[in-house]
Symmetry: C2
Subunit: 380 residues, 2 copies
């Protein structure tokens, strides 16, 4: 049999596929064996694990085989109702997605052609960058856009506790964004996976609240329930959701049905809220510990964000330090992070890094930050 | 606030999105209230419903929070191993998908550009047609292709108990297909959701077995476990799976994790096989009942397939009957089917229809076929 050269079969999108450097790290290194601030996993201790069997049983009692059958492409009614109630929108404006990543992907698919421009956070969430690139859309930092670069289709932003930067946009920044969207006549994709994880400060109005007519707001159950369920949602104008609905028929027909009923039950029973209070307390403690460790161990010239929520801190090191080059050394020493330049479309900012404080064993935080501080001190 | 005309934001793919007429029927009519042979749902009685709670509990005992966390993009190792073992392939050739529909979609995405040609069954599975169209690929019946029509990228076929036709390709037809694929130098996407549901006759070699070097074989848990889990798989050459893996990072990061562990447990415990034996007996009985009812009630000039497996029968009525035009009348009378022309890319064959025998209440089969027979008799 002749060996087949498969590359000649691939679509023109394929060369633009971007591998997640984070997932590549996971493939190669057992992060459990070292002090890893890489990845963006929530803490397993926040999962309502002990409630899952009874949630499943009560769903099967209530809904029977309906919970195991194909479901509505828009999502099961009970979950859409829970989301609608929680966020104060009509059910008709809620589409359940098979993960928030699917939300990003399907929004990009219905909106962007090759060469179109997405105006994005800079640095930008990697999963979003992967989707934009995979559709061969250009990605331009919001402030650097001019019409000559191509047709802008939407602004993509994580306004609350940004991944990777940890920053939150204040009201005036959000209002400016909305003005910009209206001025450029583009839509807004507001990615809100962390919004409910606020540890300090006061909630700011969402972009959807400021500009409901042009915002698709993405939500995720991964940080307020468990990522293993792969469930998220999109809230937006019905005319946009209608196209997403049709597109989703091709993607996977409908989101996982039993998982949706279990989630609806988790929300309706009040378990989500009681569990969330515990998660917030847990993450607040971790954030505070992380900040105090950075304060204690980091050499002069290193700066970091102080996030009011979410899962990430962003470090800026002295210009002379290259976090990409430092990476293998760090792994050898027993500490992992994600180089900040991966989150920049131009690969710049090689003196930055993203640190996650949600997933690492708390006992490893101090040795990890100590190790990292020493590496940085040595590299200056 | 100015009303927004959203159509101007849409990508060039959007006008090619095809709504599933089946899903549209479901949206408008309560099929539970009538005799519905539409849809392609498996019988709820085949779901191992009573085992789900204990499967979930045993998975959580074994794997703990790992079953609720993010997982490997390729699928959890335990499920990949079960699939690999069942079908006699290395684990490295197995990618778990979030539904077999996602399998179709991701294969199309990595292979087809707008204007490329997919050589397909004729009639063809609607979900596949939706994906091909959504990527603006041309769809040409396998026997009608010539190079002038565009660049052919792959052959898409359901060789076992085809949806919608109910037909199975014999070995010589499969060998001819493989020769054609090699001659045209195209890949084969072998869609096999029903292969394990054989009620009579002898299994034929799969296209993957005949041409492993150029076949992506799609499998589904929907008919041998339950569709609510939205799980499927792709078996294929590693070089192709590698691109699917990278693409899947954008699509949803990973398939639902708890569902995958539950499925792996269902397979490893032997439950799948014992349950499958029951499903096959159930469906065989339904198929035989359906065939005998057609024999008894259908007027002369109506022909149908006698499938050896799967969920569907295909009816060919006298040329003068238009099943699209007949449809509203049928709904009013209390019986539903899917017009056959929906499965033809050119909308032809308006004298055909697809009947599903797996989902309808058995008690409704006789009145349903009687009603349908009368409608057809009146329409001749």
């Amino acid at each position: 049999m002749m060996p087949v050269d498969y590359s000649r079969f691939f679509s023109e999108d394929v060369p633009s596929f971007l591998r997640s450097p984070v997932r590549e790290i996971f493939r190669k290194v057992d992060l459990g064996a070292i002090c890893s601030f890489a990845g963006g996993y929530p803490a397993a201790v926040t999962f309502p694990t002990e409630h899952i069997p009874s949630l499943v049983s009560s769903v099967l009692e209530k809904y029977g085989t309906k919970a195991l059958q194909y479901g509505d492409t828009r999502g099961v009614a009970e979950l859409r109702e829970q989301i609608a109630k929680r966020y104060g929108v009509p059910v008709s404006q809620v589409q359940i997605t098979t993960s928030s990543q699917q939300g990003i992907d399907v929004c990009t698919r219905i909106l962007a052609d090759p060469g179109d421009i997405v105006l994005a956070d800079n640095p930008v969430y990697l999963g979003a960058l992967q989707s934009f690139r995979a559709y061969r859309a250009g990605v331009v930092p919001i402030d650097e856009y001019s019409a000559g670069l191509g047709r802008a289709k939407f602004i993509y932003v994580i306004p609350d506790f940004n991944n990777p930067s940890g920053k939150t946009l204040d009201l005036s920044a959000r209002e400016a964004l909305v003005r910009k969207a209206r001025e450029l006549d583009v839509l807004i994709v507001e990615d809100s996976p962390y919004r409910e994880l606020r540890y300090s400060g006061t909630p700011v109005k969402t972009l959807r609240e400021l500009a409901p007519e042009r915002t698709l707001q993405l939500g995720s159950l991964s940080k307020i329930f468990a990522p293993g369920f792969r469930l998220g949602w999109i809230i937006g104008p019905e005319e946009l959701l209608e196209q997403i609905y049709v597109c989703k028929q091709c993607l996977d027909l409908c989101p996982p049905v039993l998982d949706q009923y279990v989630t609806a039950e988790y929300m309706a029973s009040g378990l989500l809220d009681s569990n969330l209070a515990g998660s917030i307390a847990e993450y607040r403690r971790r954030r505070d510990l992380m900040l105090s460790l950075l304060e204690r161990f980091m050499p002069d010239g290193v700066e970091w964000t102080r996030p009011d929520g979410g899962l990430f801190l962003w470090l800026t090191l002295p210009e002379s330090i290259d976090t990409v080059a430092l990476y293998d050394k760090a792994l050898d020493a027993g500490v992992a992070y994600v180089a900040g330049s991966f989150f920049y479309t131009d690969g710049s900012h090689r003196n930055t890094m993203r640190l996650n404080f949600s997933f690492i064993d708390e006992a490893k935080m101090e040795p990890g930050i100590k190790l990292l501080s020493e590496l940085i001190r040595d590299a200056v």
